[in-house]
C-alpha cells in the first residue's frame, strides 16, 4: 500500500497551478517527549540555510512526556517572523490531537500524516499525504526505541521532497544539529533519506514550495534566553543566582555554559559565582547582598518568582542597591499557563513591593535587544543604584529567531557613583544619601573599603542623608521625593522608543516586547489591505521617555497593543500622560498565551476603525 495510492484526490478549487512559494507556515504536532525537537531544528535550519526568512516556535505543555506539543515554522519571503495565525502545512504525528488539528486548518492546507491515522476522510478541501513512517524507518535501525525517534527525521525528508528543500541543506543541518555524535548523525541522515526517497515516488498535488533566496544573509538563529545570557556575560556579571522556573531556566543554564567556557582566570578560577538558591526570595536576596557589596549581580525568573521577590526588591529600592532581574514572562495569574507566553507582569513589576516604589523596566523586542539590554540593565542599575527589570517573555526567550550578529560592546561599563579610599581621603567623609549632584543619586562606598569613614548602615527603615535611623517626617518626605526624582531620571537613560513611520498618520500604534513582530506586519497589512496609514512607536523602557507623550500628542487615535487582559502598559501611560491625551488611547489586548499574530491585531484595529467610520 503506497502513500501515493491512498492519497485523496485533489481538493476542488485548489488546483496547484499558482504555487505558494516561500510564504507559508508549517505545524508539526507530536506528543511531548517523542524526540521531535532535533527534527524540527533540522527543518528550520535547512530552510534558513536556503536563505529564507524563517522563525520557529515551540508550543509545548507543562509536562515532560505525553501531552501534545506543536512546533510551528514560518517561512516568509517578506521577512515577517511573527506567528502566522493560519497553518498551511500540518505534520500530524500525534493521534490524540490529529483530528482537531485537521479540523482547524484553512481550506487548501496540506496534511502530512502517519498513515495509520484515518484523517483523509475528515475534510475534502485539504491535501492529504499519508506516510508509512514505521515502514520508512524499518531499514534504518533494528532498535525499536530509536526507530520511534527516527520517524521524526523521516518527516523532515518527506517535507524536503514535497517542498523542494535542497537535500544537501537538510544533510548540512543534520550535521550541525548532531555535531560530533557520529552515530546519531548517520542514522538521522539515513532516516531523512528514507523520507526523501519515499516522497520521490508520490505525486505532488499541493502548491507549497520553497525556492532559494537571499533573505537572511549574515544572520544567526538564536533564542532570546541565549541572547540575554550572552548580554549578561559581556556586561560583566559576576554573581548569578536563580531558582529554576519555566521559561527562564534556559537563560541561566545557557549563561552557566558560556561563563564556564569564557570567564575563568589564567589559573582556571571562575570570575563568577552561580548559586542555585532555595527559592526566589533567596535568589533575589543574594543578588541584593552582592549588589550592596559591589558586584554586578542578577537573577532570572518568571511571574511567580517576581511575586515572591517583592519584599526584597522594595528593600533594594529603598536602601538603594543595584540589582538586575530578568523576568521571562509567562501566563499568570498564579501558576497559570506556565509554558505559554504573555506580557502580564508589567504593571505589578513597575510598582513591585509595598509603599511608594517604582522600578525601571526594559522591554527588549528582539533577540538583538535581549543581548544589548544586558549591558543597558547593569549600567542603569549601578548608575541609579536600584533594581532594574528586563521584561522579556516566553515567546522571545524560548523560541528561535533570526538575528543580526551581536555587536561587541564598545562602551566601558558604567559602575556608577562609588567612592574609593582615595576619594574618602580627599573628601574626609561622605553622606550616603545626600543628593550632591542634583540627580537624586547619592555616592556609595563598598563594604571592605579600607577607610575609617567608609562604612554606612544600609537599612530598610527610615533614614537620613547619613543613613542614620530617622522617623522624622520631614526627613522621610525629603528622602521619598529624592527617590522619585532619581527614578524619574531613568526616562532619559533608558533605551529611547523607536518610531516607524513619518509621524503624520492619524492613527498611531504603541507596542513593546515580542508584540513587535506582529505589529510591524500589522502596519503593512493595514496599509496594504485597507489603505490605512499608521505610525508605530515601540516603547523600550519604563518610566517612559518624553517621546512617548509626544507621539500620543500627534495622533488622533493610538492603539496600545499588548499581551495581557488589563491593558497594563496603557494603564501606566494613563498615570503618565496629560489627562487631555487619555481619550486617544485604545487597548488592543490579547491573552490567549500564543505568540501574538498580525492577523488578529489587524482585524481588531480595522474593526475599531470601521466603528468610527461606518
Amino acid at each position: 500500500m503506497s502513500g501515493a495510492a491512498t492519497a485523496a484526490a485533489r481538493p476542488e478549487g485548489h488546483a496547484a497551478t499558482s504555487q505558494r512559494v516561500n510564504d507559508f507556515s508549517i505545524q508539526v504536532a507530536t506528543p511531548n517527549g517523542s524526540g521531535s525537537q532535533s527534527s524540527n531544528t533540522v527543518l528550520l535550519r535547512a530552510l534558513f540555510q536556503m536563505g529564507l526568512p524563517v522563525s520557529g516556535k515551540n508550543l509545548f505543555p507543562s509536562n515532560i512526556a505525553g501531552l501534545p506539543t506543536w512546533y510551528t515554522i514560518r517561512v516568509s519571503r517578506d521577512g515577517w517572523i511573527g506567528r502566522k495565525k493560519e497553518i498551511d502545512l500540518l505534520v500530524a504525528m500525534n493521534p490524540e490531537t490529529a483530528r482537531d488539528d485537521v479540523l482547524g486548518l484553512p481550506p487548501g492546507a496540506v496534511v502530512v500524516h502517519d498513515a495509520p491515522l484515518p484523517l483523509g476522510a475528515l475534510r475534502e478541501d485539504l491535501f492529504f499525504y499519508p506516510v508509512p513512517f514505521d515502514r520508512l524507518v524499518e531499514g534504518v535501525t533494528p532498535e525499536p526505541k530509536l526507530r520511534k525517534l527516527l520517524r521524526n527525521m523521516a518527516y523532515v525528508g518527506v517535507l524536503a521532497r514535497l517542498l523542494s528543500i535542497e537535500p544537501a541543506e537538510v544533510e548540512r543541518a543534520i550535521g550541525k544539529v548532531f555535531g560530533k555524535k557520529a552515530r546519531a548523525r548517520e542514522v538521522n541522515l539515513a532516516a531523512a533519506r528514507a523520507g526523501l526517497e519515499w516522497a520521490g515516488g508520490i505525486e505532488k498535488r499541493d502548491d507549497l514550495a520553497v525556492r532559494r533566496m537571499d533573505g537572511n544573509a549574515g544572520k544567526l538563529i538564536v533564542d532570546g534566553n541565549t541572547a540575554a545570557a550572552l548580554g549578561a556575560m559581556f556586561a560583566g556579571v559576576t554573581v548569578v543566582t536563580w531558582y529554576p522556573i519555566t521559561p527562564s531556566s534556559s537563560l541561566v543554564e545557557s549563561l552557566i555554559g558560556y561563563l564556564r567556557r569564557y570567564r575563568t582566570t589564567p589559573d582556571g578560577r571562575p570570575t563568577f559565582a552561580v548559586v542555585q538558591a532555595e527559592d526566589e526570595l533567596a535568589a533575589v536576596g543574594m543578588v541584593v547582598g552582592a549588589g550592596w557589596a559591589g558586584a554586578r549581580a542578577m537573577t532570572a525568573t518568571s511571574g511567580p518568582g517576581v511575586s515572591l521577590m517583592g519584599e526584597i526588591v522594595g528593600l533594594a529600592y529603598f536602601a538603594e542597591v543595584p540589582a538586575v532581574i530578568y523576568d521571562v514572562q509567562r501566563v499568570g495569574p498564579s501558576t497559570g499557563l506556565p509554558t505559554r507566553t504573555a506580557q502580564g507582569d508589567v504593571l505589578s513589576t513597575a510598582f513591585l513591593s509595598h509603599g511608594d516604589t517604582r522600578h525601571p523596566l526594559l522591554f527588549p523586542g528582539t533577540v538583538e535587544e535581549c543581548f544589548a539590554f544586558g549591558g543597558e540593565a547593569f549600567d542603569l542599575a549601578e548608575r541609579l543604584q536600584t533594581p532594574v527589570f528586563v521584561m522579556t517573555d516566553l515567546d522571545l526567550g524560548m523560541n528561535n529567531w533570526m538575528a543580526e550578529p551581536f555587536p561587541y560592546p564598545e562602551e566601558p561599563m558604567d559602575r556608577g557613583k562609588v567612592l574609593s579610599k582615595a576619594d574618602l581621603e580627599r573628601l574626609g567623609g561622605f553622606a550616603r544619601y545626600a543628593d550632591v549632584d542634583g540627580d537624586g543619586v547619592g555616592w556609595r562606598t563598598l563594604p571592605g573599603t579600607d577607610h575609617p569613614k567608609a562604612g554606612y548602615f544600609a537599612r530598610g527603615t527610615g533614614h537620613d542623608e547619613r543613613a542614620a535611623y530617622s522617623e522624622n517626617p520631614v526627613v522621610w518626605e525629603r528622602n521619598m521625593a529624592r527617590l522619585a526624582r532619581k527614578i524619574d531620571g531613568a526616562r532619559a537613560l533608558l533605551p529611547a522608543p523607536v518610531l516607524a513611520g513619518d509621524g503624520a498618520a492619524e492613527v498611531g500604534i504603541i507596542a513593546y516586547g515580542s508584540s513587535h513582530h506582529a505589529v510591524v506586519e500589522t502596519v503593512a497589512q493595514l496599509r496594504g489591505e485597507a489603505g490605512l496609514a499608521a505610525d508605530y512607536l515601540r516603547v523600550r523602557g519604563y518610566p517612559f521617555a518624553a517621546a512617548v507623550a509626544a507621539f500620543v500628542e500627534v495622533h488622533r487615535r493610538v492603539y496600545v497593543v499588548e499581551q495581557n487582559r488589563d491593558a497594563q502598559l496603557l494603564s501606566l501611560l494613563k498615570l503618565d500622560l496629560p489627562a487631555a491625551l487619555l481619550p486617544r488611547l485604545r487597548p488592543v489586548s490579547h491573552l490567549h498565551g500564543l505568540p501574538l499574530d498580525a492577523r488578529s491585531v489587524t482585524d481588531e484595529i480595522l474593526d475599531r476603525e470601521k466603528e468610527r467610520h461606518p
Binding site: 582566570t265 571562575p270 526570595l281 536576596g285 547582598g289 552582592a290 519584599e311
Partner: protein
C-alpha cells in the same frame, strides 16, 4: 589589675593600636538589662581583642530586637539591616561579591527559626564563611511578647498563655544541616561567650552561635525557660573554654586527661577543659544525641557542641579566586571580542 608605681596608665590598645572605644557603635535602644546588649559588648570586645579591622567586617541582620543590635557596636563597619528572615541570603550575596569580608550576622529566634527557617537551613548547608549569632529569647520582643519557635513546650507567657508546641533546637538543626561550627552560650556567661565568639571569628565556614539572651520585658518571669533565673539553674556547660590566639605560641601545661585543644582555621586554638567526661565536639552524632538528652531533662547544654575545622566552605566549593569578584577589572569580566565572534559563528 594593679600596677603600682606605674605612671598614669596609657589607654589600652589592640594590635592595630586602636582603643576599645573604636569598636563601639550607637547607643542601644533596647531595654535595660536585655541580654542582647551584653552580647553586643562581647562581640565588640572580641573584635577589639583579636584586632579585627572594623573596615573588614560586614554586619548583617534581619528584623527584630536582635537584628537592631548591629547598630549598637562597631559603628565604623559596613552594615545591612535587611528584611525579616532573609539575612542569610543577603550575607551569601555579600560574601560571593567580596570573600575578603568578615561577615557577622545577628539574628533572633523568630527571624531565623520561623520566617527565615528556609534560608537559615540553606546557609548552614552551604557552610558559608560567616559568624552567625542567634540572640535567642524564645519570644518576639518588638511585637510585644508572642512565643517564638524556640520556646519550650510548657513554657508560659506572663499572660498565662502556655506554649504547647515543641521547641526547635537551633543547634541540633544546624549540626544536622551541615554547619561546621556550632555552639550554644548564655548572654550572662561572659567568659564562655567571649571564648566562643573569638573561636567563631577564627573559623572558616559557618560558625553558628545560639546565645540564650533573656528578654527582660516579655520572657524573664517564673514559667519561662529563657529567663536569667532559669539559665542560672539549668545552664550545663560542657567544658571550660579558653581561646588561644594564633600569635601566642606559649606552651601552657595542661592535663591531657581533662583538657583537649582543638585547632581553628587561622591557627588559633580553643582549649576545652572538660567538665563532661567523654564529650568530643568532633563527633556529630554524639553531639546531636547529647542535645536531645539535655533537652528532655530541661538542662541547657552550652559550650562548643560541634566543630569540623576542615570542612570546605561554600566559597571553596565554588572555587572563587582570592580577589573580590565585585571589583575585578573590566578586562577580567568582559571576554574579548574574539570570544563573541566565536560564539556568534557557532550560532550561524
Amino acid at each position: 589589675m594593679t600596677t603600682p608605681a606605674a605612671p598614669a596608665p596609657a589607654q589600652k590598645v589592640n594590635r592595630l593600636g586602636l582603643p576599645l572605644a573604636d569598636y563601639r557603635g550607637g547607643k542601644t535602644t533596647l531595654c535595660a538589662g536585655c541580654g542582647h546588649n551584653a552580647i553586643s559588648e562581647r562581640i565588640l570586645e572580641a573584635m577589639f581583642e583579636l584586632g579585627v579591622p572594623s573596615e573588614r567586617v560586614a554586619k548583617l541582620s534581619g528584623i527584630g530586637c536582635s537584628s537592631k543590635s548591629t547598630a549598637y557596636f562597631m559603628g565604623r563597619s559596613h552594615a545591612f539591616n535587611t528584611v525579616h528572615g532573609r539575612m542569610p541570603a543577603l550575607a551569601t550575596g555579600a560574601m560571593l561579591a567580596n570573600r575578603t569580608l568578615l561577615a557577622l550576622g545577628v539574628s533572633g529566634d523568630g527571624d531565623s527559626m520561623s520566617i527565615g527557617l528556609g534560608q537559615f537551613a540553606h546557609l548552614m548547608r552551604r557552610n558559608l564563611p560567616m559568624v552567625y549569632v542567634i540572640e535567642d529569647n524564645g519570644v518576639y520582643g518588638l511585637t510585644k511578647g508572642q512565643f517564638s519557635a524556640t520556646a519550650d513546650r510548657g513554657a508560659t507567657l506572663k499572660t498565662g498563655v502556655v506554649n504547647d508546641l515543641p521547641a526547635i533546637d537551633v543547634c541540633a538543626l544546624a549540626i544536622q544541616l551541615g554547619a561546621s561550627f556550632v555552639a550554644r552560650s548564655f548572654s550572662g556567661d561572659k567568659r564562655q561567650l567571649s571564648a566562643l565568639l573569638k573561636a567563631a571569628i577564627s573559623h572558616r565556614g559557618t560558625a553558628l552561635l545560639d546565645v540564650i539572651s533573656p528578654c527582660v520585658t516579655f520572657n524573664d518571669h517564673e514559667g519561662s525557660t529563657k529567663s536569667y533565673a532559669y539559665m542560672k539553674d539549668h545552664d550545663s556547660p560542657l567544658h571550660e573554654l579558653s581561646y588561644v590566639p594564633a600569635q601566642e605560641d606559649i606552651a601552657v601545661e595542661y592535663d591531657p586527661g581533662t583538657t583537649v585543644e582543638v585547632a581553628l582555621h587561622d591557627g588559633a586554638r580553643l582549649r576545652l577543659h572538660k567538665l563532661e567526661e567523654g564529650y568530643d565536639p568532633r563527633e556529630k552524632v554524639a553531639a546531636v544525641a547529647r542535645l536531645m538528652e539535655t533537652a528532655r531533662s530541661g538542662e541547657v547544654l552550652t559550650g562548643l557542641l560541634y566543630l569540623d575545622a576542615k570542612a570546605p566552605s561554600f566559597l571553596d566549593v565554588l572555587g572563587l579566586p582570592e580577589a573580590p569578584l565585585a571589583t575585578l577589572p573590566e578586562a577580567a569580566v568582559r571576554p574579548p571580542r574574539e570570544a563573541l565572534e566565536e560564539i556568534v559563528e557557532g550560532l550561524r
